[in-house]
Amino acid sequence: MTPAGSLLAAHDLRKTYGSTPALDGASFSVHPGEVVAVMGPSGSGKSTLLHCLAGIITPDSGTITYDGRKLSAMSDAERSALRRSDFGFVFQFGQLVPELTCVENVALPLRLNGTRRKDAERTARTWMERLEVEDIASKRPGEVSGGQGQRVAVARALAGSPKVIFADEPTGALDSLNGERVMQLLTEAARSANVAVVLVTHEARVAAYSDRDVTVRDGRARDLEHAA
């Protein structure tokens, strides 16, 4: 059921909102350091799949296994702790905290895990350098461009040393050039740090940065690895 060596795997997930099925028997897996694109038309269930995998929402049935542990067997508090310690997130609109500077935003996951400010910001600056946004460290999100803000969001997702990054349409609000650069930096940084990436996108050019793709249609994920 769970492909050998996978870090995160889902089997036969079902989730219904009212009478509308969002997931109808979806299966999925990702290995450490692997970038998997989840593709599909709008409303196909790809974001619901990502939210289930990340433990943000609970499926009605089916199993999700992360690093040998079943997500359904964890309490809400344990799942929250897991999200803070092992998962990073990048959304379409960076969702940075507007009151904090960019470096404080990047340092936030570390601060939430109890790292001292000085150490957290030192690590944050290293990631910002990697994402080519070190020069805007002291600016607030409202003072930077969309492309820069998204790179800050990627740096924040990586700063907490996650094992999995969930990226939901990370380039959806960017022009082609900025979108490509964000994808290049995100995938290079993730691969070199052996971080798995679950990348939800409807754009083929973005999905082309992945190692593998899974298509979701009508709530069913077509994962060729699972089918094998």
């Binding site: 083929a204 050019r205 940065y209 298509t215 077509r222």
Partner: protein, 174 residues
């Protein structure tokens, strides 16, 4: 487009004469380029020689003899292999892909599988180009981008067609 495979696919629903094959082909696929009779008969001779069709009967009236062709088991396998095999991504693939989708429907196969196999093949090539772009200089990037945009356009067509399969099924099997 492979005329041989298309004619073979049309024979899956039952034996037909060459004239009937040409008429059905033109109606379904030959909107702007109808087949010549010569093409039909030369293609059928080749398929016959390769054991993919057999002569099911010969009618002789006042005019020339009219052969009725039937597909063989080897012919059915050949159609299935062709439908399952994605095309090499290149410009102006649509007519071949459209033919494959319609033939899959006419022969009771899953047209979505044809589109998915092609989608995978396009994405595979897009990954190779993206990787080449990542390692290359500006010239490589621009050349790869050009190809990537074309492949992306094909993929949009594949997605749109996938979303319209239900509609197409009704038209094709009407």
């Amino acid at each position: 487009m492979s005329i041989g495979h298309t004619l073979l696919g049309l024979l899956e629903s039952g034996p037909r004469h060459g004239y009937d094959l040409k008429r059905t082909f033109d109606e379904k696929f030959g909107h702007d380029r109808p087949l010549h009779y010569g093409q039909v008969y030369s293609t059928m001779s080749r398929l016959l020689k390769n054991g993919l069709v057999e002569v099911d009967g010969v009618e002789s009236g006042g005019g020339p003899e009219r052969k009725r062709y039937a597909i063989t088991d080897a012919g059915i396998t050949d159609v299935a292999t062709w439908l399952a095999q994605p095309e090499k991504p290149e410009p102006y693939l649509q007519s071949t892909l459209y033919t494959k989708v319609v033939l899959a429907m006419l022969t009771g196969r899953n047209a979505g599988d044809v589109l998915d196999a092609q989608r995978s093949e396009h994405l595979r090539l897009m990954r190779i180009l993206t990787d080449r772009k990542r390692r290359g200089d500006l010239a490589d990037q621009l050349i790869c981008d050009h190809a990537l945009f074309h492949l992306e356009a094909d993929l949009r067509w594949l997605e749109l067609t996938a979303a319209r399969l239900g509609q197409l099924q009704k038209v094709v099997t009407a």
